[in-house]
Amino acid sequence: MTLKETKSGMVVRIDSVGESTLKQRLMTMGLIPGTRVEVLNSAPLGDPIAIRLRSYNLAIRRDDAAQIEVSQVN
């Protein structure tokens, strides 16, 4: 599963960040393998989504999250 496909309320762990032009920015913001991510609310029409990781909230578009492989932990 990728982060793009997650639903509000899910808790997941990042398996790999995948290749994208955003990769280094995503990693700098703390999205690296092993990180626990909670999927929070979403904007109208369900995109972008708000996620919580490392005690802070981050907004990300579903398309930008499409390369991030995750597995569900809850």
């Binding site: 955003l22 913001m29 609310n41 972008p48 708000a50 909230n57 907004a59 930008d64």
Partner: protein
């Protein structure tokens, strides 16, 4: 003794600006870093007989030089060796904040780590052992509590030459730096190396966190509760409209307008007669009296009138920004803005464009990508800024007395539609190869520090005052000259003046739009200098003596008896409104576009393409309207 130099660095949303404002008060200078339009803030203070100069570096997540801000911080540390560098950390968000800390330490920059908002962290179940953190890094750790001034002033006692002497990087840090060197020399590709280093930094953060920080599960925070309404689904859009409606009510109706009326009264009833009297007594030449009274005071006064509106609007915007709500606006607007080829973050400059385009264009700095910045700058001028409102109000009341409100609303819509359509066109043509993305921290909701809100509003709004004192002043002098002189000298016959000549030359262009009188041409030309000029020019030229741009109804009444009523058909009036709504930004805005894009080419583009759009749309409106049988 030279001043002790202190640099403040940290992530965005850490309360760094508030600490800087508290340390330096109003004794700060704001400029731009050389070559880029990122704020450079410096303040000098005296504490216990020592001089301390504090510099506030832009908030960044890293120093990888991917954005202007990052470039500035990275260059600053390459070129400067401040005596003390304070890394401000949002204690509630320590895990991600330490990333920058570690990157700075890798570059051999000695730091004081200041944990800000410890109280908030505790509420979120985050406990930080400062002694252990100090040992883990081998650098001094201090703390400040939210908005407590006392705790911030205490920092000043820490700022001494001797503060760093007893500290050296811990074994943990030196080992990490060795590891980074090994990765750098591993012979991998540049991007792979960068990624390995980023992972190594988070490895170290995890180690330090396990030594000095305990995180216990906290219940739902206030931020999460608020976000389930303010940043979730369709309700968030409705609440957003309500919040902005309230903001515009405050700015334009409840607080801003009454203040503006008081200021206008002062100009008209106190200042103008006093100056006229003084000049008459002093025996100043007639032409000079006319220049000062009819030209400068009236002209500059009409602009200064708008100052309270603009400042109240900016105070509201800075307040909303300080609460963290603006990040949510960007979030909920992203789905809409993305379809227009923009990012949700572009909404902020566009909203500011309803007040004044100049700070709105500067506001585009905050956007991530070149594409988002450029498109926002180029479409912001289509928004109905406060200087365009009097034009709409005057024409709507005069030609459509029964439907004035609807006509003005429709014109706002024309501006917004033009901005969205042009953004879409620019994003699939000129900027089609550029990436757009949206990655935005949603900071916790906080009550902003009043001092910081006021300083920010002043910083954004002061450009408007400067404009009144420079461009508008000069414009009034020129306009007065052009309307009072012709090749034979001074004249009372305005339709013989230079301005009439210029106006009739310009008006030729507008034959297909139905408003090809020299008066309309002259109004369009003066509107290039400042949109406020359009209504003033029309007032002067059509011979209604006193036009108060704020009193559209009276002005319309006064003008109804003049030749203006016959000069425009209702359809031509609509075409004129559409044209003035869309055509070139005023010279101040053009100057700002030049400064922000650092390009004469883009400034020229902004001028010509907006004029072209305005000309074509007003043509379609007029000719289309005629085909449909309107007049």
């Amino acid at each position: 003794m030279s001043a002790l130099s202190v640099a403040l660095t940290g992530n965005p949303n850490t309360g760094k600006s508030t600490i800087f404002n508290e340390l330096t008060g109003a004794r700060q200078k704001i400029g731009n870093w050389p070559g880029v339009t990122v704020d450079k803030k410096v303040g000098v203070i005296e504490h216990n007989g020592r001089k301390i100069s504090v510099i506030d570096l832009p908030g960044t997540y890293s120093i990888n030089a991917r954005s202007q801000e990052e470039q500035v911080v990275s260059d600053y540390f390459k070129e400067n060796k401040p005596d003390i560098v304070v890394n401000i950390i949002d204690a509630a968000n320590i895990a991600r904040n330490l990333f920058l800390t570690i990157q700075l330490m890798e570059n051999g920059i000695p730091l004081i780590l200041n944990l800000n908002m410890m109280d908030e962290a505790q509420r979120h179940g985050i406990k930080i052992d400062m002694k252990k953190l100090e040992a883990a890094f081998g650098m001094p750790v201090t703390n400040t509590v939210g908005r407590s001034n006392k705790s911030v002033r205490k920092l000043l006692d820490v700022f001494t030459n001797a503060v760093m002497t007893n500290y050296k990087p811990s074994k943990l840090i030196t080992e990490h730096i060795d590891r980074v060197h090994k990765i750098e020399q591993s012979g991998l590709g540049a991007t792979k190396i960068e990624e390995e280093i980023i992972s190594a930094r988070y490895d170290l953060i995890d180690k330090i966190m396990s030594q000095a920080v305990t995180v216990s599960a906290a219940g739902k925070t206030l931020t999460e509760k608020l976000d389930s309404f303010l940043a979730n689904g369709v309700t968030s859009l409705i609440l957003m409209v309500a919040i902005f409606w309230l903001m515009f009510q405050i700015s334009f109706e409840w607080i801003g307008q009454p203040l503006a009326d008081m200021l206008g009264e002062f100009f008209e009833e106190t200042l103008a007669p006093a100056v006229a009297e003084a000049m008459a007594e002093a025996g100043v030449a007639d032409w000079m009296q006319s220049l000062v009274s009819d030209g400068i005071i009236v002209g500059v006064g009409s602009v200064v009138n708008f100052v309270p509106l603009i400042f109240v609007l900016f105070i509201c915007l800075s307040f909303l920004d300080g609460t963290g709500y603006m990040a949510r606006v960007a979030f909920v607007m992203d789905p809409i803005m993305r379809r227009a080829g923009l990012s949700g973050k572009s909404i902020m400059p566009l909203i500011m464009g309803f007040g004044c385009g100049v700070p709105a264009i500067m506001g585009a700095r905050a956007l991530d990508t070149h594409k988002d910045r450029m498109i926002s700058i180029l479409v912001t001028p289509f928004m109905t800024c406060s200087a365009k409102v009097p034009i709409l109000a005057l024409f709507a009341v005069m030609f459509f007395p029964d439907n004035a409100g609807n006509v003005v609303f429709a014109m706002y819509f024309v501006g917004i539609a033009a901005a969205i359509i042009m953004a879409k066109i620019l994003s699939v043509t000129t900027f089609k190869d550029h990436e757009s993305s949206f990655l935005l921290e949603l900071p916790p909701y906080r009550l902003p520090d009043p001092k910081t809100v006021l300083l920010e509003a002043w910083d954004k709004g002061k450009g408007y005052l400067i404009k009144a004192g420079t461009i508008i002043f000069a414009m009034c002098v020129v306009l007065w000259f052009l309307s009072s002189f012709n090749s034979d000298g001074m004249t009372d016959e305005m339709d013989q003046s230079y301005l009439a000549g210029i106006g009739s030359a310009a008006s030729v262009v507008f034959t297909p739009q139905g408003f090809d009188t020299w008066e309309a041409g002259a109004a369009v030309v003066t509107g290039l200098l400042a949109k406020e000029g359009v209504v003033s020019t029309i007032g002067i030229l059509y011979g209604a003596d006193e036009i108060d741009p704020d009193e559209a109804e009276d002005a319309a009444q006064a003008l109804l008896g003049t030749t203006m009523a016959g000069a425009f058909t209702p359809l031509a009036a609509i075409a004129f409104m559409v044209f003035t709504q869309l055509y070139s930004p005023c010279v101040t805005a053009l100057g700002t576009i030049k400064k922000e894009t650092q390009s004469w080419k883009w400034m020229a583009f902004a001028f010509f393409y907006t004029c072209a759009v305005a000309w074509v749309v007003s043509l379609i409106v007029y000719q289309g309207g005629k085909l449909l049988g309107f007049e």
